[in-house]
Symmetry: D2
Subunit: 290 residues, 4 copies
Amino acid sequence: MIKAVSPVAPTTLSCLRPPTRNGFTSRDFKAEDSIIRVGEAVIGGGSFAVIAGPCSVETLQQLVDTAFAVKESGAVILRGGAFKPRTSPYSFQGLGEEGLKLLSLAREITGLPVVTEVMDTADVELVEDYADMLQVGARNVQNFSLLKKVGRCQKPIILKRGLMTTIEEFLSSAEYIMAAGNPEVVLCERGIRTFETATRNTLDLSAVCVLKERTHLPVIVDPSHAVGLRRFVQPLARAAVAVGADGVMVEVHCSPETALCDGDQSLRPEDFSHLMRDLAVMGKAMTLLS
Amino acid sequence: MIKAVSPVAPTTLSCLRPPTRNGFTSRDFKAEDSIIRVGEAVIGGGSFAVIAGPCSVETLQQLVDTAFAVKESGAVILRGGAFKPRTSPYSFQGLGEEGLKLLSLAREITGLPVVTEVMDTADVELVEDYADMLQVGARNVQNFSLLKKVGRCQKPIILKRGLMTTIEEFLSSAEYIMAAGNPEVVLCERGIRTFETATRNTLDLSAVCVLKERTHLPVIVDPSHAVGLRRFVQPLARAAVAVGADGVMVEVHCSPETALCDGDQSLRPEDFSHLMRDLAVMGKAMTLLS
Amino acid sequence: MIKAVSPVAPTTLSCLRPPTRNGFTSRDFKAEDSIIRVGEAVIGGGSFAVIAGPCSVETLQQLVDTAFAVKESGAVILRGGAFKPRTSPYSFQGLGEEGLKLLSLAREITGLPVVTEVMDTADVELVEDYADMLQVGARNVQNFSLLKKVGRCQKPIILKRGLMTTIEEFLSSAEYIMAAGNPEVVLCERGIRTFETATRNTLDLSAVCVLKERTHLPVIVDPSHAVGLRRFVQPLARAAVAVGADGVMVEVHCSPETALCDGDQSLRPEDFSHLMRDLAVMGKAMTLLS
Amino acid sequence: MIKAVSPVAPTTLSCLRPPTRNGFTSRDFKAEDSIIRVGEAVIGGGSFAVIAGPCSVETLQQLVDTAFAVKESGAVILRGGAFKPRTSPYSFQGLGEEGLKLLSLAREITGLPVVTEVMDTADVELVEDYADMLQVGARNVQNFSLLKKVGRCQKPIILKRGLMTTIEEFLSSAEYIMAAGNPEVVLCERGIRTFETATRNTLDLSAVCVLKERTHLPVIVDPSHAVGLRRFVQPLARAAVAVGADGVMVEVHCSPETALCDGDQSLRPEDFSHLMRDLAVMGKAMTLLS
C-alpha cells in the first residue's frame, strides 16, 4: 500500500543557488561598498550615519520632542519601536499600529525618515506602509520566514545581529533577505551574550572589521543595547567610528526617567549633543589616517 | 500644533497581568506536575516519553519506514520537519505543506501522533490542521509573535530552548504561550552555545533540574541536536533519564547516509532499538531510587 | 656590534616530541583504559569511584567526622583543601601545611587515602609528602609550570577542567603531566562557564563521552562545583554514572551551615548516604545495558 | 582520641582585611588615576603608552632589530617572552633565562625598558633581576600563588585578563597583588572567549569603560592576542584610544613569517609605523573632545 504513494518529485527539493560562491552579501559578488539611501540619509560608502530615537514610541509629544532634538544634533534617521520584543508577556509590548501612525506623523513634522522594528510576517506590509526602513531585531535574526518576507519589501532593512549569532550565520541571515530580492540591507552589531555581566552584553567591535572585509553591506553599531548603561554609550560610539563602522544607532529619550522601556541606556538630548560632537571629532580624525 | 495631538490613552499601555507572582508556568500557580496528552501518548507525571523520527520529512516511504521502526521500539510520538529552519537560504528548506500531508498520512498508517515545527505565524493554522503537536524551534524561542499565536492553538506545544536562552527567559517564553491561553507546553532542553566545539552544542542537563523545580510543565531533552554525533546520543539520553527528565526527542532515520538534513546525528533503527532498551533499564532503576 | 653576539644555538629551540601523533593521553598511544590506584582505591577500568569530603580542611574533628561518614557510605578517597584558590585575597585561604597534617592524620585514623589541591610549584614536594593524590584545580589547568612539576611526582594527579578549557586544551594540559613522566592522571569535568546563571557553572556531561573516546585516562565528574547547589548534586551524579564516567568527586561536610567555604553545595552525611544508594542502583543498571 | 587533638587556633583563620569596602584597586581607596612609571615610560594619567615587541625572544638580532624599529615609531616599552605559556608541551616553550639575558642586552643597546612574562613563583626573583616590568599572563590570572609572589616585587606588573575572567574577578586578582604590597599594577584587556570563532577571541572594549570607572589603575588593551589577525590590529588599537584606554600592547616582529610564535598576528615594522601614526591622530582627537 505504501509503495502506491508516489514519492515527492525531485523538483520539490530544488533549492535556490547563490550567485557566487559566497553569495549576494559577499565581496565576491560585489567588490565596492553598498550605499543605502533612506530619504535623504545615506548609509555606507564613507559617510557616518547616526540613527537615534527612543526605544519605544510612547506619545507624539515624546516622539517629536526627541526627533527635533536628535535632528538638531545631526541624526539623519529617527528610530522608535511600535512593536516591542519583550522577554516577559507582562511588559509593555508597544503601541502597535498606533505607534506606526505616530512615527509617520513625526516624519511629517520633523522631516526625518523613520525606522522601526517588524516582528511578525503578518505585519510586514503594514510596517512598510508607515516606515522608511524596517528593522529585524536580534531575537529574530534567524526567523527565516520573516527574513524572506522583508526580502520582498521595497524598503531598506536593518538586520541586527543576535545575541548568539556567529558572523557567518549573520551573513547567512542577510543572504536570506538578498536572495529574496531586497539588496538594501544594513548590518548592525549590537553586542553578543557572554559570561560577563558588568555590561548588558559584550559589544564585539572586531566583528565590524570582519564584516567590512567579507561584505559590501554597510555595518553599523548599536552601543546602547550592547552596554545597557547610558554613561558608556559615548566612548563606545567613538570606538565604533575608530574601528571603521558606517554609523551608529543610539537610544535617545527626551525624558529617560519616565521611559517605558530601556530608560537606563537612553541618552538625554544634551548627552546626545555631546556624543555628536565627539563623533564629529572622531570622524574628522578618521579622514587624516594613513 | 503638536500639543493638539492627544496623547495615547493610558489604557493602550495596559498590560496583561500574571496570575501569580511567577506566572502560569510556575509551581506557585500549579504545584503538581502537568501531564500533557498527545493522542495516546502521555508526557509528564512520571512516565518517560520518547519522541522520534527524521529531521526532515523527505518521502512517505522514508517517513513510514522510520515511524514503524521507532514505534516498534517504543516511541510514542513521531517527529518530522516539514518547515525547516536552515542557516543558509540555499539549504533544503523542507517540503512545506506537502510534508505536512505526508506526516498526516504516516499517522494514519502507523497510528503514531505527529509533532512538527511551525516557523511562521501565517502557517500556524495550517500546521495545526495536520499535526497533533506543534514545535517552536530554538531559533524562534523569542519570536514573541509566534509564541502568542501558538498560544491560541488547541494543540500542545513543544518549546525548544534557544542556543543562548537563559532558563529564566525560557520560562518567560513559555509564559507567553500560557498567557495566550494554551496550557499545554512541553519544554525541551537541546543544548546551549558555548565555546566548546567538540560537540555541536553543550547539553545543559542541570537545566532539567532547575526547570523541574521551578515549573510544573514537563521537561524533555533532545540529545541529537545538542551533541550532533550519533554515537553520543545514547549515553546522553540515559543521562536525561537519570537526571529526571520527562522524555527525550531523538532523530532517527531509516537511512542516515542519504538524509537531506542532520544525517550525522540521526540514529539508525537498530541504534534506536538499543537506545530504547537502555532507557528501559534506566527507567526501571529510577523507580528503585531512595 | 650586534652581529658579534652569537645567535641562540638551534638546540635550545628543540622541543619534546609526542610519542604518537596524539600524544601520551590518546588512545593511539594506549588503547585500553588506564587504571589508577590510590591506596586501595581504584579509578577507571569499569569501577565507579567516589571521592568525597569537605571543600576546606578546617579542624581534625570536622575532617574525621566527615571522613568516617563518607567512608561508611562507600567513598574510597577523602578530599579536602589545605591550599584554597579563592577569588578574593580577603577570603579564607586554607590552613596550608597545618591542613596537610590534618589530612594525614585523618588518613591514619580512617584508613582513607587523601587527595588535596596544590597551587604553587614551590609546594609540590610538601603536598606530595602528605597526600596520596594531588589535585590541580580548574584555575591552574593551564599553569604549565605546575603541570610540569606535578608531572615529576610519584603520585597520581586529578586534573580539573578549567571554566573555559576546551576538551582539546584539557587533553594538552594532561599531556604536559604525562610528558614530564607521570602517567597517572585522572581528568575531572567540573562545569564550564557559560551565560547561564541559574547554576554556578554548566556541567558538560557530553565532555565525558568525548574524553572517554579520545583518551585512555579515567574521567570523573564533580557535580558539586558545577552546579553549586546541594539539591542538584544527586541527580547530576546519577547522570554522571549514566553517561559513563569513572567516578564522581562530591563535597560533603558534617555541618554545611558552618562550613568556611562552599557550604551551599556541600552534602550532609545523610544526603551523601542517599546519593551513594542512588549511585549503586545506577551502577547496577549500567551493567545490564546492551 | 580525636577529641584530644586540639582544634586549629582561630588565629590561623584570620584573613587580610581590605583597606576600604572595595579594596586597594577601587576608586574608594584612591580617587585619582594611578600613574605607573617604567624607566622613562609613563602609563596612566592621560598619556597613551605603547608597548611593542615580539611574542617570543628568539635571537638578539631579532630582538634588537624589532626594538629599534618600534622605538623609532614611538613605542616606550619593549615586550618579549622568555617563558612562553603554550597549550601543547611540544610547542616552543621560550628560551628561559637565556631569553631574559637577551632582553636585558636589548635594553642596554636600545634604551627601552623591557616587560616579560613570569609563569612560575620559582622564577619571580630571576625575572625581576632582568626585567623592568613583569607580566602575569591570561592563563595565570587566577594563579593566586603567583599573584601573591609578584605582589612582593619592587617592579610594576602587567596583569592580563583571562579568557574567562569577569571584570569583578579581574579586579580581585589585581587586589591580590596590591594586598601583598605592590601598588604598581597595569590591567590589560586582551579578549575573552566567546562562541565566535572568526577572531581568536572577542575583544571586550566595554570592559575598559567599566574598569576605568571602578579602578584607579591604568588599563591597556592587547589587540594582537584578542583578534589574532594582523590586519585587524590597527583598527582595534584605534578603538582602544577612542574608548579611553591608557595604552596598547602589540606584537611586532621584524620578520613575522619566520616567527616561532604568533606570526599571524604580529605586525611588521612598517605596519607598526602606520599604527603609531593612526594612534597619534586619534590621541590628538581625544584631546579635542567635549
